[in-house]
Structure formats: structure tokens, C-alpha cells
């Protein structure tokens, strides 16, 4: 039995967070792909409260919620790189912006993908601008939110880049545009090219296909 297992679904950006963290820490793990339409017995048993992926199973014990999993990976495998920064204040900053992304921006991106426009567009642009400011402040001239290396906040936001690109295509304009948010634009390229991300980040084309299939399926089930 593999010591570390990860239950996931390939299009899911939250699953990608756990995978990137494991790759960064060079942890060997068995990846178990859940069926797109369903939930396995193992998933329901391991996450009875939320019944959602990702679930990390380490030595038989399950861990749920992507950001909690990423912090666990950082604390259980102490080898470099450290995913959270050294100072308590910087850690609070990373956690604050991660919560901002998950609570505000991510649901907004979903609404935009589902066709909402107008005020939602403005909110998204404002949100991206705030992230640019956070990036400039936290990176201190280096390549990532975490500094020289990918960290907690890079993982939180970066793993959503595929879906951000899908959203941009559906909206017909770029949210992360070099002219408007040069820091983030450069960061996005660096993140996707990173060895811990490349190869496991799903292609935007495939995410687009999955999204369109899901939309068709939703329309059919409403009839």
C-alpha cells in the first residue's frame, strides 16, 4: 500500500494544488483518478463531511480541503522548499490572500464562466489589480509570491490559471494582461513553466472541452 495517496479529478484546480505541493517536496505518491461524474466508496469514506476531492491519504489517515492539505504537506515533509514564509506576519499575509482568492475571486470566476457580465467584469478586474499589488509587495522583486521559489500563495492562485484562461476565452478578454498587471503576467508564465507544475497542469483546451460538455449536460438535465 502506497504511503501517500491522493484522490482527485484531473480538471480540478484544488487537486492540482495538492499535486504541485507534493511535487515540490518530491514526495512519492499514488494518484487515484476519481470518475468525473461520481464519487468512489473510498472518497465517501475518507471525506464524509464534504464528500469532495482532493483527499490526501497519508499512512491510512485522510486529510481534506486543498489549502489544509498544502499546509500539511509543508509541515509533514520538512525538506526544502518551505511553502509558507518564515515570518509570522508574512504567513498571515499569504493566508489572507489565499482566503481572498478562494472566498471572493474564485466564485467570481465561476459566475463569469456561467455568463454573468457587467459589474462582475469590473469586480474581476479590481480583484486582479489587488492581486498585482499583493504580488509586487510579497515577491520583493523576485519571481514568485513566495520569493525565489513557489510558495503557498503561488500554489493557491497558480493552480487556477488553467481555469482563469478558460474564463478569459469565454469572456473575450484577458484578466491577466501584461499591459495592466505586468507582475502577475510574468508570474503566470513562470508558474506554468515550473518543473513542479509542467506536465501535471491540464491543458486549457481540454479544460475548455470539459466545461462545454458540462454546460451541455446541465442544459439537458434542465429540460
Amino acid at each position: 500500500m502506497a504511503e501517500v495517496k491522493l484522490l482527485g479529478k484531473w480538471p480540478c484546480p484544488y487537486v492540482l494544488r495538492a499535486r504541485v505541493a507534493l511535487q515540490l517536496k518530491k514526495v512519492e505518491y499514488e494518484y487515484l483518478e476519481e470518475e468525473l461524474g461520481g464519487k468512489s466508496e473510498l472518497l465517501l469514506k475518507s471525506n464524509p463531511v464534504h464528500k469532495k476531492i482532493p483527499v490526501l491519504i497519508h499512512r491510512g489517515r485522510p486529510l481534506c480541503e486543498s489549502l489544509i492539505i498544502v499546509q500539511y504537506i509543508d509541515e509533514a515533509w520538512l525538506a526544502a522548499p518551505s511553502l509558507l514564509p518564515a515570518s509570522a506576519h508574512d504567513r498571515a499575509f499569504h493566508r489572507f490572500w489565499a482566503a481572498y482568492f478562494d472566498d471572493k475571486l474564485s466564485p467570481l470566476l465561476t459566475r463569469l464562466r456561467n455568463g454573468e457580465r457587467g459589474r462582475a467584469n469590473e469586480e474581476a478586474a479590481e480583484g486582479v489589480k489587488l492581486l498585482e499589488e499583493a504580488f509586487v509587495r510579497l515577491s520583493e522583486g523576485k519571481g514568485f509570491f513566495g520569493g525565489d521559489e513557489i510558495g503557498y500563495l503561488d500554489i493557491t492562485i497558480g493552480c487556477h490559471l488553467g481555469w482563469i484562461r478558460v474564463t478569459e476565452r469565454l469572456m473575450g478578454f484577458k484578466l491577466i494582461e501584461e499591459a495592466k498587471v505586468p507582475g502577475l503576467a510574468g508570474w503566470a508564465e513562470r508558474f506554468c513553466a515550473h518543473e513542479a507544475v509542467q506536465g501535471i497542469m491540464p491543458e486549457t483546451e481540454k479544460l475548455m472541452e470539459i466545461f462545454q460538455l458540462a454546460q451541455i449536460h446541465m442544459k439537458r438535465s434542465k429540460r
Binding site: 463531511v49 497519508h58 489517515r61 486529510l63 481534506c64 480541503e65 489544509i68 492539505i69 499546509q71 500539511y72 509541515e75 509533514a76 509570522a88 506576519h89 504567513r91 498571515a92 493566508r95 489572507f96 482566503a99 481572498y100 489587488l130
Partner: protein, 251 residues
């Protein structure tokens, strides 16, 4: 606060003077530290109360500033420009926002006090999971209990009771959520103990009937000074919610 003592064994009088100035210096240090820690908050906020309890558990002196949410102070707007919400902890001029982020910050900075999060990574992950569960579920479902009517109210009631039962099952027969030691999940949840009366009155159910172990846990937490000095009387919380209902024109 760690004691620093330099012993001058040659002269007992000298030792006395050294220790006296040491405690004077500590008083000064304490006063400076109290100025260096400011909490922007609102009296009834369960999120603010999490921070107050954590600070009290660690014995940290701080300045409490009551905010008027209808008229937010320039300090609040500057310290939390993104959300403009309380609580905000300002430590040495630097703001920290989001209650559970603040609680973790307090735990990490004042690490010589009793730990709020356990040392073991798996136990920490479990604590964070349940803190996150409380965050995602209780407050929003609770609001629906006093804001909504009819079928939506019934749904909220069903959901809220389910949330209580999940927490009850997780607590089991333990003294606190973390086991023998009062910790992160207890701090995340206990401010809502003062809201149980409001929830059950607006919801039309009894928290004790649905989750007796949870109520017993709440009472145990109230035996801790950090909790009893922070939580308000449940009737006062209910009065506050009634005044909100009036304000929003809810029957």
C-alpha cells in the same frame, strides 16, 4: 514574558535593586507591548471574540478599539482596505485580517504561551479542518434562521441541526475539540455558544435536545476566564439580533 535576570552574587542589596528595576522594565515592556497590539472589533462579533479569547489565553495585553460599522474609522479602512471588516489585529503597526488567520498569528508570535494549535502536523490539519467547517457553516446558516421565513426557514433549520449533529459527533466524549487542551477549534466555535439561544429561539428547536454534548462543552469552556470574560449574555445577543431584525424590517 521570559524573565531575564542577571545575578550579582557579591551584593544582596545589588541583587534587590537589579530585580526591582527588572520588574519596572517589565512593566514598561508590558505597557509598550499593549500599545503595540491593537484590536479593531465590534463587541458582539463572534469573529472578533475568537481573537480576544486567543489573546487572553496567551496573556497578551492589547488595546481594544470598538468600531462603529455604520461609520468605519479611518484606521480600519487603512488597516483592512480589501474587506473593510473587523476584526483586525494591528501588531507593531502591521495589520493582520481574517479571524482565524489572526488566531494562528497570535499562536505563532506568542509561542511561549500554551499552544493553540497542536504540534503534530496531522492534528493541526484536523484542527484547521474543523475551524474551516465552523467558518463555512455556522454563521451563514445562522443568519438564514433569523432572516428567512417559510420553506427557506425550514431548510435553514434542517441544515443548522445537521451542522450541530456533525459537531456533536466530532466532539464525542472529549473535554475539548482538541482533547484535553483548549485550542483552535474550541476558540473558533465557542463565541457561537452565546448565539445558541438566538438560533434556537429563531429556529424553533432546542440546541440541548439536538446536541447535548456540545452544550456541556460550551459550559466547560465558560469556566475559562478567557471565554467568560469575552462572551456576552445570550439574552444580550438575542436583543441585538432583534434590533437588527427591526432595522431590516423582518418580523
Amino acid at each position: 514574558m521570559p524573565q531575564t535576570a542577571s545575578l550579582h552574587l557579591t551584593n544582596r542589596l545589588h541583587i534587590h535593586i537589579v530585580l526591582e528595576s527588572e520588574s519596572e522594565r517589565e512593566r514598561e515592556r508590558g505597557a509598550r507591548m499593549a500599545e503595540a497590539v491593537v484590536l479593531l472589533d465590534v463587541w458582539v462579533s463572534p469573529f472578533g471574540q475568537r481573537c480576544r479569547i486567543a489573546l487572553a489565553e496567551k496573556g497578551v495585553a492589547y488595546e481594544y478599539k470598538e468600531e462603529d460599522l455604520a461609520n468605519k474609522s479611518p484606521l480600519l479602512l487603512q488597516a483592512n482596505p480589501v474587506h473593510k471588516k473587523i476584526p483586525v489585529l494591528i501588531h507593531d503597526g502591521k495589520p493582520v485580517c481574517e479571524s482565524l488567520v489572526i488566531v494562528q498569528y497570535i499562536d505563532e508570535v506568542w509561542s511561549d504561551g500554551a499552544p493553540i494549535l497542536p504540534a503534530d502536523p496531522y492534528a493541526r490539519a484536523q484542527a484547521r479542518f474543523w475551524g474551516d467547517f465552523v467558518d463555512k457553516k455556522i454563521y451563514d446558516c445562522g443568519i438564514r434562521l433569523w432572516k428567512l421565513k417559510g420553506e427557506a426557514h425550514q431548510e435553514a433549520k434542517k441544515e443548522f441541526i445537521e451542522i450541530l449533529k456533525v459537531l456533536e459527533a466530532e466532539l464525542g466524549d472529549r473535554k475539548y475539540f482538541g482533547g484535553d487542551a483548549f485550542g483552535y477549534v474550541d476558540i473558533a466555535l465557542v463565541p457561537f455558544f452565546a448565539w445558541f439561544y438566538t438560533y434556537e429561539t429563531c429556529g424553533g428547536f432546542s440546541v440541548e435536545a439536538e446536541a447535548p454534548k456540545l452544550v456541556a462543552w460550551g459550559k466547560r469552556c465558560m469556566e475559562r476566564e478567557s471565554v467568560s470574560q469575552t462572551l456576552y449574555d445570550p439574552l444580550k445577543v438575542y436583543e441585538f439580533v432583534c434590533s437588527l431584525k427591526k432595522k431590516y424590517g423582518i418580523e
